[in-house]
Amino acid sequence: MPDEAHNIPDEPPPILGTWPRIYTAVLIYLAAIITLFFAFTRAFAP
C-alpha cells in the first residue's frame, strides 16, 4: 500500500495553549451567537 504515510504529529493550538481551552472558547462563542440571535429575534418580532 502507499508508503508515503508518515507519523502524524499532534501539536498545540496556535492560541490559548491547549485544545480543551479552544473547545471551550468555541462553545462560549456558540452560546454568545445564539444569545445575540435571540435578542435580534425579540427586537424585530412582529
Partner: protein, 549 residues
C-alpha cells in the same frame, strides 16, 4: 444575459477548471491522489469542507427559504459547532493515528469485514444517489435561467468536474474549493449590498429590517419545543448535532477532507474554522433572502418566478384576472409597508400582515395555474432581472461552480471508497500505480454515473429533492452509532454492532412510518438504536459465554 455576463460566466468556469488542473499536478501516487500526500494546511481543508456543503441548492433554496419561511433555518446549524468540537477531540486523532484512507477501513481494524462492508454499502448507496441529485437539482434551475437544454447543462457541469477531479484527485478538488469559497463569499456580499442599495431612497436599511420583522421573516431563534417542528432551537442543538456528527464523522466525503491534513492540529483547526464561520455564513445567506423579500415589496415581482411557468400562465384564460388581482394586492402591501415604516402602530402592522396574506393567496393561485413550483427561482429571478451586467454572470458562475464543488467532493469520495474498500480487498497485491489508475477509473465511473443518472431521471425530481435531502437522516444515525461503539465501547464486537446497525435502521423506519417526528430526530433514534441493541447483544452473549464456562 448580456454578452458581458456570458464572458464572465465562461471565463470563471475555464479559470476554475484550469486552476484545479494546475493545483492537482503531481498527484501520481495513491497517497497524493487520495490524501494529497497529507500536506494540506487547515484553511484549505476548512474552506473545502465549507464549499462541499455550500452547494448550488444552498444558494437557491436557502435564500428562498428566508423569503417564504423566514430565517429560522439558521437554527439547523446550531448543532454544527458542538459536533465539530466533539469530532476534533475524538474522530480526528483516531482516524489520523489509524493511518487509514477511508473511515470504513478503520471499522475492519476495529471490528470485522462484514461491519466494514455494511457501512461501505450504506455510504455508496446514499452518496451515489446524492451525487445524481447534486448534479440534477441545480442543472434544472440553471438550464431554465440560461435557456440551455437540461441535459446540456448536466453534461457541461459533470464533464468539467470529471476533468479536474480525475487528473488531480483530492488536491485539485480542495484547491478549486478554496477559490470557489472566496468568490462565493465575495459575490454573496455583493448581491446583499446591491439588494440593499436598490431599495427606494426613502427606505433605509433599518426600515427594511423592520419590515422583514413585521412580516415574521426574522424568526431566527424559536425556543418552543415541538417534536414535529423541523427547525427550532432544540432540534438544531440536539437533532442537528447528531446529523453533523454523523456527516463529518462518518461520511467519507467529509472525513477524507480532514485526513489530508499535515497534522492532527491542522485537521482540528479546519473543523473548528467551520464551527466558527458556518453559522454567521448561513445567517448572511438567509438575511440576503429577507432583503430580497423586502426588495420585492417595493419593486413588483413577477406573478410567478419560474420563467417557463410564467409563459404558460400568460397563455391561460385566468391570467388577466390573476395579474390584475396581483397588481392590486402588491399596491396594497406596498402602501401597508410604508405605513409600518411611518407609524409602527399595531393597526399598521395588522394591515401589513393582511395585505401580505392577500398577496400570498394570489401568488399561490397563480403557481397552481402555472403548474410549476417557483420557490427555487426567487433568488435566480432577482439576480437575472436586477443585478448589474457582469455581476449576473459572476453570480450564476458561482452557483454553477458551487454545484461542481459539491459533486467533485462526492465523486472523489465515492471513488476513494470504491478503490480502498472494494478494489484493494479484491486485489490486495495491486501496486501503487495500479491503485492510482483504479482511482482515476473509479472517478470517471462515478462522474459518468452522476451525469447519466441526472440526465435520465433529473427532471422528474421536483418533489424527490426534498425526499432525498432526508435520505441522509435515514442512514446517518446508524452509521454514527457504529462509529460511537467503535471509538468508545471497546468490549462490543463486530457481530453485535452489525446486528445493532440493522436494529437502528429498523427503529428509524418504524419512527418514520408510525410517527410524525421531524426527520432531524431520526439521527438520534438511529444512533441510540444501534448503541442500545449492540450493548444488549454484547451483554447477553458475554453472560452466555460466562455461564457456559
Amino acid at each position: 444575459m448580456t454578452a458581458i455576463d456570458w464572458a464572465v460566466l465562461v471565463a470563471w468556469l475555464v479559470f476554475l477548471v484550469s486552476y484545479g488542473l494546475w493545483r492537482g499536478r503531481g498527484s501520481d501516487t495513491a497517497n497524493q491522489f487520495l490524501l494529497a500526500g497529507k500536506t494540506m494546511p487547515w484553511y484549505a481543508m476548512g474552506l473545502s469542507i465549507m464549499a462541499t456543503q455550500a452547494t448550488a441548492i444552498t444558494f437557491i433554496t436557502t435564500t428562498a427559504q428566508a423569503y417564504t419561511d423566514g430565517m429560522r433555518f439558521v437554527q439547523f446549524y446550531f448543532g454544527l459547532p458542538l459536533a465539530m468540537v466533539i469530532l476534533s477531540a475524538t474522530a480526528v486523532p483516531i482516524f489520523h493515528r489509524a493511518k487509514v484512507f477511508t473511515a470504513y477501513e478503520y471499522l475492519e481494524k476495529r471490528f470485522d469485514r462484514k461491519t466494514r462492508s455494511l457501512v461501505t454499502a450504506i455510504f455508496l448507496i446514499e452518496r451515489g444517489l446524492g451525487s445524481g441529485i447534486a448534479l440534477a437539482a441545480p442543472a434544472i434551475a440553471l438550464s431554465v435561467i440560461l435557456g440551455w437544454p437540461f441535459r446540456v447543462t448536466t453534461i457541461v457541469m459533470g464533464t468539467a468536474v470529471i476533468l479536474y477531479t480525475t487528473t488531480g484527485g483530492i488536491k485539485a478538488v480542495t484547491w478549486a474549493d478554496v477559490q470557489q469559497m472566496a468568490v462565493i463569499t465575495a459575490s454573496l456580499i455583493l448581491a446583499g449590498i446591491i439588494a440593499v442599495s436598490m431599495l427606494p431612497s426613502d427606505v433605509s436599511f433599518l426600515d427594511a429590517v423592520r419590515i422583514a420583522g413585521a412580516a415574521g421573516k426574522l424568526n431566527v431563534v424559536q425556543t418552543e419545543f415541538n417534536w414535529n417542528d423541523r427547525y427550532n432551537l432544540w432540534s438544531g442543538l440536539i437533532g442537528a448535532s447528531f446529523l453533523f456528527l454523523a456527516y463529518f464523522g462518518t461520511d467519507q466525503s467529509q472525513v477524507q477532507r480532514y485526513l489530508t491534513g499535515r497534522s492532527i492540529g491542522q485537521s482540528r483547526l479546519s473543523l473548528l474554522f467551520n464551527a466558527v464561520a458556518k453559522v454567521p455564513m448561513q445567517f448572511g445567506i438567509l438575511f440576503i433572502g429577507t432583503i430580497v423579500f423586502v426588495f420585492f415589496i417595493f419593486i413588483q415581482p413577477p406573478l410567478v418566478f419560474q420563467p417557463l411557468a410564467e409563459k404558460q400562465l400568460e397563455s391561460k384564460t385566468e391570467y388577466p384576472a390573476l395579474q390584475s388581482r396581483f397588481n392590486r394586492a402588491f399596491e396594497r402591501r406596498r402602501a401597508a409597508a410604508r405605513g409600518v415604516i411611518e407609524r409602527h402602530t399595531p393597526a399598521a402592522l395588522a394591515e401589513f400582515r393582511e395585505a401580505q396574506s392577500q398577496l400570498d393567496a394570489v401568488h399561490a393561485e397563480a403557481v397552481k395555474v402555472g403548474g410549476e413550483p417557483d420557490t427555487n427561482y426567487i433568488f435566480l429571478s432577482f439576480v437575472t432581472r436586477y443585478l448589474p451586467r457582469g455581476i449576473v454572470g459572476l453570480v450564476l458562475g458561482v452557483i454553477f461552480t458551487a454545484a461542481m464543488s459539491a459533486i467533485s467532493g462526492e465523486i472523489n469520495s465515492l471513488a476513494t471508497v470504491t478503490v480502498i474498500d472494494i478494489y484493494r480487498r479484491i486485489a490486495p497485491e495491486a501496486t501503487d500505480r495500479q491503485t492510482v489508475f483504479a482511482s482515476r477509473l473509479a472517478t470517471v465511473f462515478w462522474g459518468a454515473y452522476a451525469i447519466v443518472f441526472s440526465a435520465l431521471f433529473g427532471q422528474g425530481f421536483g418533489t424527490l429533492i426534498e425526499a432525498v435531502n432526508q435520505v441522509g437522516s435515514y442512514f446517518y444515525g446508524p452509521m454514527l452509532g457504529v462509529f460511537f461503539i467503535a471509538f468508545f465501547v471497546k468490549r462490543v464486537g463486530g457481530t453485535a454492532v452489525f446486528i445493532g446497525a440493522i436494529a437502528g435502521e429498523l427503529a428509524i423506519i418504524a419512527v418514520s412510518r408510525f410517527t410524525h417526528i421531524a426527520y432531524l430526530w431520526y439521527n438520534v433514534v438511529g444512533a441510540a438504536g444501534v448503541i442500545a441493541a449492540a450493548l444488549l447483544l454484547s451483554y447477553a452473549t458475554q453472560r452466555e459465554s460466562t455461564a457456559d464456562r
